[in-house]
Symmetry: C2
Subunit: 156 residues, 2 copies
DNA sequence: CTCCCAACCGAACGATCGTTAGGCTGAGTG
DNA sequence: CACTCAGCCTAACGATCGTTCGGTTGGGAG
């Protein structure tokens, strides 16, 4: 398809970015919706990381816009998008907070730092994950390291 | 300064990118050079993370090129840069490997996953860290989480 | 005082980018 | 069969980008 033909489907380049950004936000939130809100928090964290990495590998274009290209959005669209992004981060943070409050994670856990560390790893994946790569195992390795750390031995 | 005036100092835009990419690689390697190669591995990991985040906060432009914009390098320059980048990652991985082999970290540690997780967090920082931010404390929070995990209690 | 030289300005060039508009094609529909 | 319509191509427009080049400025050095 030639570049001009694209304009039979979109209004402007900025509109296209906005559409893709919304699709990306929806994809990541949908992945989080699949995570049960009952059961062991540890399993839910694992599921959330799996879901995120799946979106990255299966819809790399969406993920790239969601994680980086969104900053070329302008004005109100940018603000609206950022609110969705913050909500996504907050949903992640809530997982860690709940795990701590329920006694499944250490009582002195800083949920902001925990979410930042987990989401940094998840977000950074868009730079090197290739489409179609198997990601569940990778997500589980991350989860295991995040939960049990590098020092001492696993309690599982 | 007008855009044209820049060409009194550089040959081309591509050359400028190449210079900055080399400066960035040098800055990150120099930060790693400051990490002692003796002493507890755990302290060296902390120092390495501190060093990386310091470069990000103090030289955000260099860090941005080192972590993302390098991919607009072409041909041989790109390959040369990527070799330096891989060497940087390998130096990180070696820290975790040594920690495992010396018994300071768990014996079943996957040093590749560990380095990937730590460097993902360190790299992602360029998207949100603002220049001049205090980073040592952040690096230490990351280090603590990575070492001891979110489950159980710290052994320190 | 004159000259030099580094550093920047200002205008212009071709190339690329975002966008528009008109035309072609081919698979339905009546 | 004529007609529609979605989907693509092609050529062109103004704007921006990377780059060049001659000119201007403001300090030193002789």
């Amino acid at each position: 398809m030639q570049k001009g033909s694209l304009y039979a489907h979109i209004e402007s380049k900025a509109d296209l970015l906005w559409e893709v950004a919304r699709d990306g936000a929806a994809a990541f939130h949908r992945a989080l919706d699949e995570v049960p809100d009952e059961g062991p928090v540890i399993e839910r964290i694992r599921a959330a990381l799996r879901g995120h990495l799946r979106v990255v590998a299966d819809q790399l274009d969406l993920a790239t816009v969601f994680t980086r290209e969104w900053r070329y959005l302008a004005g109100e669209r940018r603000e609206t998008f950022l609110a969705e992004r913050r909500r996504y981060e907050e949903r992640f943070r809530a997982l860690f907070r709940e795990g701590r409050d329920l006694g499944e994670l250490r009582s002195d856990l800083d949920d902001s730092t925990a979410a930042l560390l987990a989401l940094s790893a998840a977000n950074w994946a868009y730079t090197w994950l290739r489409p179609g790569a198997p990601t569940d195992e990778l997500a589980d390795r991350f989860t295991s390291l995040l939960l049990d750390g590098m020092r001492g031995y696993s309690s599982r």
